[in-house]
């Protein structure tokens, strides 16, 4: 990669050709606001909040779509830029429903963050409030157009990443909305419920319906782990509140999945806190299961296994380990069968 030197806000920065101004700024801890930008997508340059001043350029340039060149002199925090950004955000807020109080995205909303950052205490424009109800009775994704800022991220991620095109812009001007063909429910489209659109939406226009009112983003503990479903090994973030898993997300910056998931990984978490979970050992007595303590249960197991082993030999016992359990558990299971029971009758259902 050819090295270039650029200046951002007076700071000389060595970087490589092919990077955008936004990327270079990010890498060097310089903040440039964005709304329609998303690292998983091709640059779009539509929302204009990332405009920057470049010495010698005609007009302002979008940082997300402009590649650096040698000797480029860039300013990201001038008064002009502040005014432009403020105007754009105020216009967006002017027709935005004011119910941030109960919005599911409060705390993770990029529009809210930007308004705060720009210190917009009052919106100078009074826009018509947008009324656009979407009745989409699918169980996973809730859509609310009144909160949509038309950044097109959902349209693009569905097309560019998922390879489908469930959403599109329809109508023009103030009437523009992003929706499905004929406003159909997602269940009547090609939608695969991967939730990529939910993960990218900067506002509360697209949310995980199962998570609604389960807990604020700042109240949840976030634990990095691995998806329990298929062998892709997607990296996930488990959101926990009061001992309950209330949502799953993914980090764009890590793992083979780069922030993407499928329907199982993103929405298939309700089994964890399901009421039918086994909570205590059970012992069969007279054909019925009776709740038991660990001590009692382990006693029944050891007595029976030992008895059978003595009477019929170790090879009359077999064990099935699990492709759902961890490596450590699989290791211990086969160690148990081999070292304690003394048989090699151990397998798992993975052949299947």
């Amino acid at each position: 990669m050819a090295q270039v030197i650029v200046t951002i806000n007076g700071r000389r920065i060595k970087t490589e050709i092919g990077k955008t101004i936004l990327e270079v700024a990010k890498e060097n801890g310089i903040y440039i606001p964005t709304l329609c930008y998303e690292p998983r997508l091709k640059p779009y340059g539509a929302c204009r909040v990332c405009l920057v001043e470049v010495e010698g350029a005609k007009g302002l340039l979008p940082a997300c779509a402009t590649e650096v060149t040698d000797g480029m002199e860039i300013a990201t925090d001038t008064v002009t830029l502040y005014e432009i950004r403020r105007t754009i955000v105020e216009l967006l807020l002017s027709d935005h429903p004011p119910n941030c109080l109960v919005c599911e995205s409060a705390g993770s909303c990029e529009l809210q963050d930007l308004a705060y950052r720009l210190g917009i205490e009052e919106v100078r424009f009074k826009g018509e409030q947008y009324e656009y109800k979407v009745e989409d009775f699918n169980p996973l994704i809730e859509r609310d157009h009144s909160k949509c800022i038309l950044c097109g991220r959902c349209v693009r991620i569905c097309e560019e990443v998922q390879g489908i095109k469930v959403y599109d812009f329809i109508n023009r001007g103030f009437e523009t909305v992003v929706t499905t063909p004929f406003d159909r429910s997602l269940t009547e489209t090609e939608c695969e419920f991967c939730g990529q659109c939910v993960s990218t939406c900067p506002t509360g226009a697209l949310i995980d319906r199962q998570r609604k009112f389960k807990g604020r983003i700042w109240e949840t503990a976030k634990v990095r782990s691995i998806c329990p479903y298929c062998g892709c090994g997607c990296q996930i973030i488990i959101h926990v509140k009061n001992g309950e898993v209330i949502g799953i997300s993914a980090d764009v910056e890590c793992g083979v999945n780069e922030g993407n998931l499928c329907a199982k990984g993103r929405f298939g978490y309700n089994f964890i806190n399901h009421q039918d979970r086994l909570k205590t050992p059970l012992i069969r007595k007279d054909g019925r299961f009776i709740e038991a303590s660990w001590e009692e249960a382990l006693k029944v197991v050891t007595t029976n296994l030992s008895k059978i082993k003595t009477k019929y030999g170790a090879d009359s016992i077999a064990g099935l380990s699990s492709a759902k359990c961890t490596n450590e558990e699989n290791y211990l299971f086969q160690k148990f069968m081999r070292a304690v029971i003394e048989t090699n009758n151990v397998d798992h259902c993975a052949r299947l």
């Binding site: 488990i238 890590c254 329907a263 199982k264 039918d276 979970r277 259902c349």
Partner: protein
């Protein structure tokens, strides 16, 4: 994975998932990737869309990837070997093979060459139903690619000829020199999240960790020393053999952890009988599954979110699983239960944290030698083989040599599936997975949203078959095989070819495995889930 072990010396995905982006040609065979491995499917679609990679799909069903394919070969179920031999014959005839790779890196080409000439395009077409022109074109595209990768899954392995299928795929990759470079390789996609890990850890009847053979004296000696015990030498039974042995009264007790063979195994009427015959059954799981219903003792285990440890993904990557919450009630992490049980039986397993187990595994397994818990914990994952602490892990296997030295060609002849359609059972049933459901549904079916979107699925029947049987959309019919009958609802579709019925195996309401054939691949011991003969009976 017996096939890959024979050809290369070890059996796992040779390349990495991210690597697919670098392929010029992607051959997907027996993998409904968009539904079973969605994130890998994204890579495939992206390679096609953005890098102009050519996709060849070989599948009897019109799976979604067909929409992105340059070429779709719709073979009759169970005829993969005929298709691949046909392709290889064209490649040899047109001198498209990678002679240099064959000469330097492989052995056994003469034996393969000896059997191929009879797989002319006409013969391959007659057996598989794939038009000769398509076969010829596919062979050309594949062999002329700078970098071609082969991706396969259960559609290849779940046949009595599963090992043959895998060997054929390995032959094709070696014949064209597509091993050991980015964007190439033989890439089996494993179904469940930690199948790779379960195999790597020695949850197998003939191998300990890292596929070290239990039959080898020095291997046993090493483990006996580390574990302070005596290890049995004779190979154990595989899962299907265990149930057979139970029926014969040879297996008296079973300990089943986190598996639900009552839905996942072939011919479940048979399994039910086997479970009932046992003197003693312990099941450790998170729900009272269909299998747990037969248990004498049920032990409450934990979900992935309730424990620490590692999983190994299909690309051989060992990644950190972190505990987010406590298990409910008295339930415990499965590793703790095993430790308690071992202790109750007089064998000390005194681990206080799973990381100690990870490090013990590393100390006994050369491929995991550098995969210590702290390292996994502070990284995004490590791909084995990783023999030492300063080794970065391996993204592409066999760059200079195969695990067994030279790659070995195996001459593989086409054999028909163990059960072919007959007058009495004129249709072929094939089973598989759906996007919104997982395995036996223990987890997905209790995730309300997924279950609502994808309730118990109907059986897919081709338009023409439906017309021939005068079946209407949504009608309920009986499916019968030599082993049993089930009632199913019909979905008329063009996805399944004429004469073939597709039934997902996730649903206990429609237990596909009442019908399937437990006939095993002789080497890999994988049952023939992908082909069995059935008939439709009207209600």
């Amino acid at each position: 994975m017996a096939g890959l072990a024979a050809a290369f010396g070890s059996g796992a995905m040779t390349n990495s998932i991210a690597d697919i982006a670098q392929a010029d040609v992607i051959l997907v065979i027996g993998s409904n990737t968009t539904e079973a491995h969605p994130i890998i499917a994204l890579q495939i679609k992206k390679a096609v869309r953005e890098n102009g990679a050519k996709l060849i799909v070989i599948d009897p069903r019109k799976i979604k990837l067909v929409d992105y394919a340059h070429l779709w070969l719709r073979q009759k179920p169970g005829t993969n070997v005929a298709v691949i031999n046909g392709l290889m014959n064209v490649i040899l005839e047109k001198s498209l093979a990678d002679e240099e790779f064959i000469a330097n890196r492989t052995e056994g080409i003469e034996e393969l060459k000896a059997i191929l000439p009879k797989y002319t395009l006409e013969v391959a077409e007659r057996i598989s139903g794939v038009p000769a022109t398509d076969l010829r074109q596919a062979a050309r595209i594949f062999a002329q690619a700078e970098r071609a990768t082969i991706i396969y899954s259960m559609g290849i392995t779940q046949h009595t000829t599963g090992t043959d299928n895998v060997l054929s795929i390995a032959n094709l990759a070696m014949l064209t020199g597509n091993i050991g470079k980015p964007g190439t390789g033989v890439n089996p996609l494993r179904g469940q999240n930690n199948v790779q890990g379960a195999c790597d850890m020695g949850a197998l009847p003939t191998t300990l960790t890292g596929y070290q053979k239990i039959a080898h004296d020095e291997v046993r000696a090493k483990f006996e020393k580390a574990w302070s015990c005596r290890l049995p030498k004779e190979a154990g039974l595989s899962v299907v053999e265990m149930f057979e042995a139970a029926l014969q009264g040879k297996i008296k007790a079973m300990y089943i952890m986190g598996e639900n063979p009552m839905l996942s195994d072939p011919d479940i009427t048979h399994i039910e009988k086997a479970l009932r015959t046992l003197d003693f059954l312990v099941v450790q799981d998170i729900f009272l599954t269909e299998t747990a219903e037969f248990a004498d003792v049920v032990l409450p285990g934990a979900t992935f979110a309730e424990k620490d440890g590692t999983f190994t993904s299909t690309e051989r990557k060992v990644q950190r699983v972190r505990k987010a919450i406590n298990p409910p009630g008295k339930a415990k992490a499965d590793w703790e239960i095993i430790c308690d049980l071992a202790k109750a039986m007089g064998y000390e397993m005194g681990y206080s944290f799973p990381g100690e187990i990870t490090d013990e595994i590393a100390s006994l397994t050369s491929t995991y030698g550098g995969i210590l818990f702290d390292r996994v914990n502070s990284s995004g994952g490590i791909q084995w083989p990783c023999p030492s602490l300063d080794h970065p892990g391996t993204t592409i296997l066999y760059q200079d040599k195969f695990a067994r030295g030279l790659g070995k060609f195996h001459p593989v002849e086409y054999k028909p599936p163990s059960e072919e359609p007959s007058e009495e059972y004129p249709l072929i049933l094939t089973t598989g997975r759906l996007l919104f459901q997982y395995h036996t549904g223990t987890m997905t079916r209790r995730s309300k949203g997924l279950e609502e979107i994808c309730p118990a699925g109907p059986v897919e029947i081709n338009l023409e078959d439906a017309a021939a049987y005068r079946i209407k959309e949504g009608e309920e019919v009986i499916l019968a095989s030599r082993r049993g009958k089930i009632k199913v609802r019909v979905n008329i579709t063009e996805r399944s070819p004429q004469g073939t019925i597709f039934l997902p195996f996730h649903f206990s309401e429609y237990p596909a495995n009442v019908l399937t054939n437990p006939a095993l691949d002789p080497l890999a011991k994988i049952p023939e889930f992908k082909v069995c003969a059935v008939r439709i009976e009207k209600l």
